[in-house]
């Protein structure tokens, strides 16, 4: 599973639209499932499943009607259409709602139907463009479980997301895009190892002279950008051993520390290191580590 990370406007959706043959590249080459997206577009389309950002479903049709339409468009034999549709509807847990119009579905149900439609023809490569954006935590975990299952079954999944934890938990490799260019690529572990050191996040009791506080901590580590008042973030050279000297230096300079936290490198750190900014939406990441419920 390949995770594709980037802030809004970085070019994620444009890249995906080119890879799924909805947009003709103006230059360069790309191959999906062994075929060129520009010159062999129809061969690419036979081998890919696509669930684009915002589950685009017809609200007037029922779930089973939509899935049967998708099956027909993918050339599945008429006698198999209904059986394949029912199998997928059951797989994504929509059996009870299959006869209802999609307009009555919740966001999570729409996403699951979207996923089922993308899987109708047993695709070799599945493109999921921000599949969990806007979903509640339960629906997100349910979708994660299904995506994991697909990966375990051998489907290649290309996942774009703004949720770092989603990328961290699900993907085998990650590419980070900024301003239309790949700025980093590797496994989550190798990317985090590149960033290396842990960092210390501090909250000062009084942020009125933050510039002076920054000068003090800069002598003990690498200053990192922080976005909120009273907050300081320092990359530590020696890990936890650097904490005491920093606190002493701040105390000597008259700064009172209200909170502190030692953090190991995360994908947000990788993102920060590679792009110079935090990923939008990173703060909204799911906090639970619980194993997702089975579909």
């Amino acid at each position: 599973m390949y995770g594709f990370l980037g802030p809004n406007g970085a070019g994620k959706t444009t890249t995906v639209r080119m890879l799924v043959t909805l947009l003709r590249p103006t230059g360069g080459h790309a191959r999906v499932a062994g075929f060129d997206v520009a010159s062999q577009a129809s061969k690419v389309r036979r081998r890919i499943g696509v669930a684009l950002q915002e589950a685009a479903l017809d609200p007037l049709m029922t779930g089973s009607e939509l899935i049967e339409l998708q099956a027909t468009l993918h050339g599945i034999a008429p006698r198999s259409v209904r059986a394949r549709g029912a199998e997928l509807i059951e797989r994504v847990g929509l059996s009870g709602a299959a006869g209802r119009r999609v307009g009555t579905y919740s966001g999570g149900m729409r996403r699951r139907l979207d996923l089922a439609m993308a899987l109708i023809h047993w695709p070799e490569v599945l493109f999921l463009d921000e599949p969990t954006t806007g979903l509640d935590p339960t629906s997100r975990l349910t979708l994660w479980a299904e995506v994991r299952r697909l990966r375990d079954e051998g489907t290649t999944v290309f996942l774009t997301t703004q949720y770092l934890e989603e990328a961290d938990q699900l993907t085998d490799r990650i590419g980070i895009i900024a301003d239309g260019r790949i700025v980093a690529e590797g496994t989550p572990a190798s990317l985090k190892a590149e960033v290396g050191r842990p960092h210390l996040d501090l909250v000062l009791a009084d942020g009125s002279d933050l510039a002076a506080a920054r000068e003090v901590v800069a002598r003990h580590g690498d200053r990192r950008p922080s976005t909120e008042d009273c907050h300081l973030s320092i990359g530590l050279q020696r890990g936890a051993a650097d904490i005491a000297p920093i606190l002493r230096a701040l105390d000597d300079a008259g700064f009172e520390v209200a909170e502190l936290e030692l953090k190991q490198p995360t994908l947000d750190d990788v993102f920060l290191d590679k792009t110079g900014e935090h990923l939008e939406g990173a703060s909204d990441d799911v906090e639970t580590e619980a194993e997702p419920a089975a579909v």
């Binding site: 909805l22 036979r46 685009a56 017809d58 049709m61 339409l69 998708q70 027909t72």
Partner: protein, 255 residues
Amino acid sequence: MRPAVVALARRALVNAFRKPQFLAPLVVFPSLFLAINVGGLGATRSLEGFPQVDGFLDYQLSAAILQSLLLGGVSAGIAVALDIEGGFFDRLAASPTPRVALVLGRVLAASVIAAVQVVYFLILGLAFGATIQGGVLGVLCVLLVGVVAGTGFGALGVLIALRARSASTVQGIFPLVFVVLFISSAFFPLELLSSPADVIARYNPLSFIADAIRQPIAFSNSLWPVLEGLLAATVLTGASIGLSLLALRGRLRDA
């Protein structure tokens, strides 16, 4: 490709029948217009240049059918534009179905709806005293011309939607439909139109289609006007489908 075209047409029809806002205007407005025209403008029959007909309703029925078919084209265009706006069109375009099927499916649905529209107005006309001079063969001619014209208007609506990519823009074409219809022989014979409207109407394809539908209803089964109308509708259909495919290719290049 055929199963895909049929499946897409079925989906378009299901949508149209599940959302009365799509279908109702196609028959309600032209029916009201027909009632107003027949009720208020019947005296025009006595004007010099107005052809000899059994009833003014016989003459105006063609205009109502044509008006309804044009609105059907606008409605098909709005439906495609809504699919584009909502992203559903991308889902269809990302499937391995040949992209011509995306256009043909919608156009086929427009043909079926056109048949329903023609039958509705013929029944309405007969119920209120119109006579079909051409008999059963005349009804078949009207149905044929009406379905081909409805198909062409549907394809034109799809073309506009693919170019405009916005339902509100397609809806904005609605008043234009009336302008083009009025500068044709749909409501009144060319002889009663003033210059330059009569010149424009003489070459307006809608005039040929209106006359082809009117001929079997109000006059007789004369072959030439029907063929002229059929030719105009066929050229419109072919050109609109061809241009729609070009627009679709452009849309996928520029999206």
